[in-house]
Symmetry: C2
Subunit: 350 residues, 2 copies
């Protein structure tokens, strides 16, 4: 503790530790960062001095001097949803084993907001970005490219990622789900989408439309949910569906949250699932299998996508992975009770 020009009391610095241990600051730094390079008893003396002084390493100074922050930035549509929490955990677990910290920001599914938060995070000089989605404003893309920071995009697919990609084909997955429903015998399959321009949502809607067209089932029937992440939105849709004549025989939802909201709402109205109407979701969230009837869904490897993205990013940061790396994740159609169970149909992976 010393007095500064400004009169503020400062904390213990590396210099203080060095003085106590009778070495130079560089030796303290080495003990902390490359302990094998220093003599055992010097090391012990430094470690004792650290304990004695209560020194806490300053990563702000370290980041400035080394030009590496040890932070990776995670950009999500929303942080308050179970949809992404497993991916976050996947990233977080990998980050921890590499001693890097994670900083998150949410875009509320809006590219313009994404641009803002990425710009804000860039000020912290993160060593890399993991971004959910591949659809960005021109400015966002330019910003990231100019910054030279490694980027891994995920939860969607594209032939032209900014840098690297952990991909998921929302189109293929929702098309496969729709085809599975057709194979189960459903003929009037309605889809719950969104009016927002969220690319993952749009690709899923297109996958549904493609399957409907290929099956020759007539015009697709799409309803838009207000809020993609609330069960209440699912309930609202269910009420609209229930009032339709003729009523659809199956309701396919953009995600499991909406599907669960719809399923429970149907039951509350006295409709049986799947007897009166079948329900299917997307995401494979934990609670889906606990519902009664259990929810048919597209199971996607959320945790693994987070892990994989973090591993790729850390490889890019370390320079061991090349730019342009791509890895496509599969999905699995989990047919459960809400669509009449899992008579042996194909379980597709890609």
């Amino acid at each position: 503790m010393r007095q500064k020009r400004g009169g503020r009391a400062a904390g213990v610095t590396m210099e203080d530790v060095a003085r106590v241990a009778g070495v130079s600051a560089m030796t303290v730094s080495r003990v902390l960062r490359q302990p094998t390079l220093v003599n055992a008893d010097l090391k012990a003396r430094v470690e004792a001095a650290i304990r004695e002084t209560g020194y806490i390493y300053n990563l702000v100074a370290s980041s400035l001097a080394s030009q590496r922050s040890g932070i990776i930035a995670l950009i999500l549509p929303t942080v308050a949803s179970s949809i992404f929490s497993d991916s976050v955990k996947g990233v977080s677990d990998v980050a921890r084993t590499h001693a890097v910290q994670m900083i998150m920001a949410e875009t509320n599914y809006a590219p313009a907001e994404e641009e803002k938060v990425i710009e804000a995070l860039l000020r912290r000089r993160p060593d890399g970005f993991i971004i959910v989605g591949v659809s960005h404003t021109r400015a966002t893309r330019a910003l990231l490219e100019k910054s030279g920071v490694p980027v891994v995009e995920t939860w969607d697919s594209t032939p032209t990622p900014i840098d690297s990609l952990v991909g998921l084909s929302n189109f293929d997955a929702m098309k496969a789900m729709t085809e599975a429903l057709v194979a189960q015998g459903f003929r009037r399959i309605a889809f719950v989408g969104t009016a927002t321009r969220d690319r993952r949502a749009q690709m899923r809607a297109k996958g549904y439309e493609a399957a409907i067209a290929e099956a020759g089932l007539g015009a697709p029937l799409i309803l838009n949910a207000e809020d993609l992440t609330s069960m209440d939105s699912g309930r609202v849709i269910a009420e609209r569906i229930a009032a339709m004549r003729p009523r659809p025989d199956a309701l396919l939802c953009l995600n499991d949250v909406l599907a669960a909201g719809a399923l429970l709402a149907f039951q509350r109205m006295g409709l049986t699932v799947p007897g009166d109407i079948a329900v299917a979701g997307f995401g494979g969230l934990d609670f889906s299998s606990h519902l009664s009837p259990s929810l048919t869904t597209v199971d996607i490897p959320r945790y693994e996508m987070g892990q994989k993205a973090a591993e790729m990013l850390i490889g890019r940061i370390a320079g061991t992975a090349a730019r342009g790396g791509t890895c496509e994740m599969g999905f699995r159609i989990a047919l459960r009770e809400s669509t009449g169970g899992s008579r042996p149909t194909e379980a597709k992976a890609s």
Copy 2:
């Protein structure tokens, strides 16, 4: 862009912007931080130079020079659970309006891990901490006190917070819930707790025990869940409960996730809720009201706790709030269908 000693290309700096604008770096800094202090046309020139060069402010350097990181640290038991996500959002929303960023870490409900993550985060020199829980190791408390960083603890209550507190009485809340069940006429009320030493969980268990004792209902009946945050854990408990003879007439759970898991499992086994057994939870999570039957729960102001904690912390950081500030949040017993609804009930029998 310039060449450094090491030969690495560096980004645009404030100095570069200053040169382009024909001013000193200090003026650029002022334009960015206290724009009213600088002459309008100088300001315009600087802003043009910023745009022209694509300058991105460096918060790492700023943090080091100003001794303020603009980061607040959030310590949670777990990040991958809906239980805390609304509180996170509350903190995040307030943080954003004050242009501070948030960095999170999880403790997995373990004080020893909490100590580790707090030490790790302290290295980033956050301007303040928000910590879920009031139970910490001696070392954690000493560390935080020595660091002098403002701390707001939340989601639990104590007369001796480290610094400031946004309190919630888990004891009172669970006692009130138990009393409500007794008032509804339930007599064999089982409780799902945990074997871990998580203080909030323990206080809830104690609240239950106190109410059971006061009602003269005999010995409390406590089962421990493996995992506090999975519905599957609730299912396992439900199976054990269903096999008991005589069977409890109500099951009160530590949180809504366990309660939902149990409720759905009972239904799957063919038991009716609340006819065969009533179920109640804790937390007031969004999906509770959507279940069928809707789940009786203790509704707590999760988002508001996050908001309030962030506001207090920012006040402490700015120096406008004094140390030792405390604010106690309330709770609300939400009687719903899973315990027979909210008909006005008679006073409890003894």
